[in-house]
Symmetry: C2
């Protein structure tokens, strides 16, 4: 087998696959990239047991063959090539890689030892890559890092024939994003948040709708030049609808970014443990205050406030800042009471909703 | 005391001082910044016991007074201020800091508890800031990270009335930089490499000559708006002149950056322990090769080679790459033999000289 391939395309592909291939694998074979010569180009594959990813890199190929190469080493060598074009040759002695003045021969392993791409036999649907990436990225922050119930480290994806919803919660806060762009497939599934991160990176620049299938405990996602299979989480996602309040006693509208920055400033002074920041809503103003071992601070922001003023509620500054991160334009801060869940909504991103629960003080 | 100060100037100063003030100090007072109102502005000071640094920030000051504020907290608050101008007020309750819509009061500590700026009574000289920064930055890589003899973690600075030299060595390699730009002070001293890093950051943009003094185990450096005192290392620096060969059997001239990149590429394949890369010099060519557990690689570079060809020598790729880093244009690679020290010199930076010793193979 002999293949000529653009260095840049190969370097991009190996970069993505290196992130999947674990650096300290439970089985040594998982530190490898599977490389196969097809008529259309090079097929490259990596897996960590949770996420299987296969990429197709356009190449001029003569002959056929497959092999395994160490992921990190191969990636480093490809990136370092002193030429725009790389030549690969699979010989009985190893895989030869050449570019410009540089030539190398890498020890290879038996391709039969690599896990095959998982079968996902379920029915297929389509989804907008942009909508899926946006929805997953928007709610990601609310998934738990470490939690006694593993399901809190997942993102629930709800698909019906026209829409999709992503939801994440760690039991203290919740984020939800609704988008148009589903199609044909109805499913409800929970992706590990880390696998969702990889999926977002993979699809965020995709220009065509993605094909989806669900089955055998996996979600398969296919784009123009990749397919991935993601192991789903077992167990049932919490009944989050109950947590979202429907009635409010106060609604304040103000600039999301200004609010986030004020919270970040006060966070510096807030009690390290509780991260408490006090929000006092009155007519035309939201006054924020925090106090900790080093001192105290306050800041007043202009806000359009409707409802039962004055109202004071305390929040975890970290949770509020997370919920506001990346939002542009006005945010609607809706309180159901001083001790009951509040909702944040963005006027520019109507699909987004965040729930934060006030601190008990 | 009341002071009005540009946020940007204050944020820059606190940023620099935060790097000095240790985050886990041996004495709690070292985590503080000393802040004093003078007629000309605010004097800010931090120390880690090794490096004392005092900065003057222009400010409009009413009254006088001094206090201590927690370095990291104060820095974060200043950077986060939502205004271009900051107001400071020292009251019996604490230090008030205001900017735009934000106001805070920080708990302060007794300024008497802070170590005074060290006395450095020695004779004074001048030095070019640019030359000193360049010399220290150029040789820094050759200082040891961890070593049984502490002196190897230092950089020797040799000053005479017109010139300065910086030298570093970890016992396996050496870097030396000679520059014009000394003046009036003759001294030989050893700075801890980490303190030298701070000094370089501090002086690299200075536009006027620096004042130097040496005494009481410290080097004092003064610029327009700062002064710093750096504790010197005790013990005698190795007699490095012996290591620099004077006679050579071969000299090769080639592009420094091309050589460094080839070495970095081969390093990926080299034996992890020895980092061995083989250099074979012949007429018109330098051929590099490396081999390790994952395979082998080679690369040929055009070079102007004079002397006893062919000659093969093995080097630590990491040391060679370090010695070449940042060099532009042609480098002269001078070998005294296959097993004896080699010298690298840059045509564009004639003050620079690096010694690397071949591996024994």
């Amino acid at each position: 087998m002999r293949a000529g391939v653009a260095k840049r395309a190969l370097a991009e592909a190996t970069g993505v696959l290196e992130r999947i291939a674990p650096s300290k694998p439970s089985q040594p074979v998982l530190a490898q990239i599977y490389l196969e010569a097809l008529e259309a180009g090079l097929r490259l594959r990596a897996t960590n047991g949770e996420v299987d990813l296969e990429l197709l890199v356009p190449a001029e190929v003569e002959g056929s063959g497959a092999t395994l190469v160490p992921a990190a080493l191969f990636g480093q060598l490809v990136r370092a090539l002193p030429a725009e074009y790389a030549e690969l040759r699979l010989t009985p002695e190893g895989l030869e890689l050449e570019g410009g003045s540089f030539a190398t021969r890498i020890a290879v392993a038996d391709p039969e030892a690599f896990p095959p791409f998982p079968e996902v036999p379920g029915p297929e649907g389509e989804v907008s890559a942009e909508a899926l990436a946006k929805a997953l990225a928007r709610v990601r922050y609310a998934a738990a890092q470490e939690e006694y119930r593993a399901i809190f480290r997942g993102i629930q994806l709800e698909l019906d024939e026209t829409r999709l919803r992503a939801v994440a919660t760690d039991g203290f806060r919740l984020a939800l994003y609704d988008a148009e762009g589903g199609g044909a497939l109805a499913a409800k599934l929970v992706l590990p948040a880390r696998s969702a991160d990889e999926l977002v990176r993979l699809i965020k620049d995709a220009r065509v709708p993605l094909k989806l299938a669900v089955g055998e405990g996996r979600l398969r996602v296919e784009g123009e030049r990749f397919r991935t299979a993601i192991a789903l989480m077992e167990g049932s996602f919490p009944d989050y609808q109950r947590v979202i309040p429907g009635q409010f006693v106060l609604e304040a509208t103000l600039d999301a970014e200004a609010l986030r920055q004020a919270i970040e400033r006060l966070r510096v002074l807030a009690d390290r443990q509780s991260q408490r920041v006090d929000l006092a809503f009155s007519e035309g103003t939201l006054e924020l205050a925090a106090e900790g071992e080093y001192g105290r601070g306050r800041e007043a922001l202009a806000a359009e406030v409707r409802g039962e003023v004055p109202l004071v509620a305390a929040f975890n500054a970290h949770y509020l800042a997370d919920a506001l991160k990346g939002l542009k334009g006005p945010v609607r801060f809706k309180l159901s009471g001083a001790q009951t869940p509040s909702v944040l909504e963005s006027e520019e991103e109507p699909g987004y909703l965040a729930v934060v629960v006030p601190l008990r003080v």
